[in-house]
């Protein structure tokens, strides 16, 4: 889903290096600051960039944000809620001899943490929704990430979709023959699908190797990425934004 949204992003052709730098620096500041103002600025900025500039549908964006939000709420609850025989200052719900209770300090801390986490997530979503995997690999390559890793990632990204396609085709074929009638046949069908998938993958790997050999493959995958020149304006905006964000961080610290 993220992948198909990313194809439609208007920010896709912006320089991947600038986008990655923006997302990562913002992420680091956001985590380091862990303050409301910083988180709020980051959250809003990324939302505006992704939905308004990138034209990612707001509904999809919100739905994606809800996924980590659910986990976060559970995590925050653990920080806030204590079970104690002494009621604390924020709230206290009597439960027999005990109280479900929390302190103001803990509530504040949990909210700050939650805010920082959500803002960090928007940084990663900004990168994921507006930059294709291919472009991110290009950045990794430019950063001299070992070619073994980038080549593997490239192949995995290409073939994970084929694997899923094949698996779903096999499953449909099994379903059509009542392969999932009950738990027993279901398990057996799943095992057989695994076997078939493995064999097909092996065959495909061999065929792919042959096809690459036929194009003079010599052990190193050399490819060219499409040029996305970094625009001075974008770099300037990124620098200004990060500087401003650092300013907000310092201000919220000394306040």
């Amino acid at each position: 889903m993220i992948d198909s949204l990313c194809c439609r992003s208007r920010l896709r052709d912006k320089n991947a290096g600038v986008k990655s730098a923006f997302a990562l620096i913002t992420l680091v500041i956001c985590i380091a600051a862990r303050s409301f103002p910083v988180s709020a600025v980051v959250f809003v900025t990324n939302g505006v960039l992704t939905v308004w500039k990138g034209k990612i549908p707001a509904s999809s964006y919100v739905r994606l944000l809800l996924v980590p939000a659910a986990f976060l709420l559970a995590g925050m609850a653990v920080i806030i809620v204590n079970i104690s025989d002494v009621p604390m200052d924020a709230f206290a719900i009597p439960a027999g001899r005990w109280y479900l209770t929390g302190s103001r300090h803990a509530v504040l801390e949990a909210l700050e943490l939650g805010g920082a986490a959500m803002a960090s997530v928007t940084c990663l979503y900004f990168l994921a929704l507006n930059t294709s995997v291919t472009d991110i690999l290009g950045v990794l390559r430019a950063l001299h990430c070992p070619s073994l890793l980038t080549e593997l990632m490239m192949l995995i990204y290409r073939f994970i979709f084929l694997l899923m396609e094949t698996a779903s085709a096999l499953m449909t074929a099994q379903e059509a023959r009542l392969g999932n009638r009950n738990l027993r046949t279901g398990l057996r069908s799943f095992g057989m699908m695994g076997t078939a998938l493995f064999l097909r993958s092996l065959k495909r790997a061999n065929a792919l190797y042959d096809a690459m050999e036929a194009r003079c493959y010599d052990g190193e995958i050399r490819v060219l990425a499409r040029k996305q020149p970094a625009e001075a304006g974008d770099i300037l905006l990124t620098v200004l934004f990060e500087a401003a964000l650092t300013g907000v961080m310092i201000w919220s610290r000394i306040r």
Binding site: C7, A207, R222, V223, L224
Partner: protein, 285 residues
């Protein structure tokens, strides 16, 4: 006279080629000898398992024959690193299943792979890649990841993969397999452009009507042997050979035969290669 000239300029020459797959008793290729002239359009036909694909893999040096030899441009294939590089530079092969050929999710990266392997510098490579993207009409979908392309679009990219390397010989293994009519048409048009540029094209196909209209020569293969190799028309008129190879007679020839037998067409006319030709006979009558 013309025959002699062709002999001199045979771009591929195969002598007594045999190949057996590991763990298999039957020979996949059994003593194949043939010659292919430069710039010719040759269709390879025959049932599944008749040896077409194996033969193609041998021409590209991917399989090393047990017996016999292959000469490309008069030079026997040398099975060394350098020798194979030379062969693969000259002989490009477009595989039947594009999903087994495209390794990158990005169309641009995918196409740049071959030309970079030939040692082109970045500037040249970019120019070539962009040229072939424009030439094959890939531009409208070049920014989509490979898994979001249709079968026909993947095929176009697979051909671009090879074309960018400027081979002298292009082998297409069932290029129209599993394509809809629209994309079959696109692929056929690309193939016509190739021959227009003087590239030798070898193609395996099951579509005998297309083969008759397109090819200069047809090679009929059966059980690892060459059953017939001749001008397209004379192979297609050899009903006995076609039957052995489990092929049917092209519709246009069958219609022509019937029309001639029923005296609707005058006898002694040259058999047509395409429906269009037959129609012009009929309207001319």
């Amino acid at each position: 006279m013309e025959q002699d000239k062709m002999k001199e300029d045979s771009v591929i020459r195969v002598e007594n080629l045999s190949y057996t797959y590991e763990g298999n008793d039957r020979k996949a290729l059994d003593g194949i000898s043939l010659e292919i002239g430069r710039g010719r359009k040759v269709a390879f036909m025959g049932g599944n398992g008749s040896g077409k694909s194996t033969f193609f893999l041998c021409l590209n040096g991917l399989l090393r024959p047990r017996e016999g030899r292959i000469l490309i441009d008069g030079q026997p294939i040398r099975y060394t690193r350098k020798g194979l590089l030379e062969v693969r530079k000259k002989v490009g092969i477009v595989f039947q299943e594009p999903d087994n050929q495209l390794f990158s999710a990005s169309v641009y990266q995918e196409i740049s792979f071959g030309i970079l392997n030939l040692g082109a510098d970045e500037q040249t490579a970019r120019r070539e890649v962009e040229h072939v993207i424009a030439e094959l009409g890939i531009a409208p979908f070049q920014d989509r990841p490979a898994h979001a392309l249709s079968g026909g679009q993947k095929k176009q990219v697979a051909i671009a993969d090879i074309l960018v390397m400027h081979p002298e010989i292009i082998i297409l293994d069932e290029p129209a397999a599993a394509l809809d009519p629209e994309h079959t048409e696109i692929v056929h048009r690309i193939v016509d452009d190739l021959t227009g540029q003087g590239i030798t094209v070898l193609m395996s196909t099951h579509d005998i009507d297309y083969a008759l209209g397109w090819a200069d020569e047809i090679v009929l293969m059966h059980e690892g042997k060459v059953l017939r190799k001749d001008a397209a028309l004379s192979v297609c008129m050899d009903r006995e050979a076609l039957e052995t190879a489990h092929l049917r007679e092209p519709s246009v020839l069958r219609l022509f035969r019937n029309l001639t037998e029923k005296k609707i067409l005058k006898e002694g006319r040259k058999p047509p290669k395409t429906m269009g030709q037959l129609e012009s006979y009929l309207s001319g009558e």
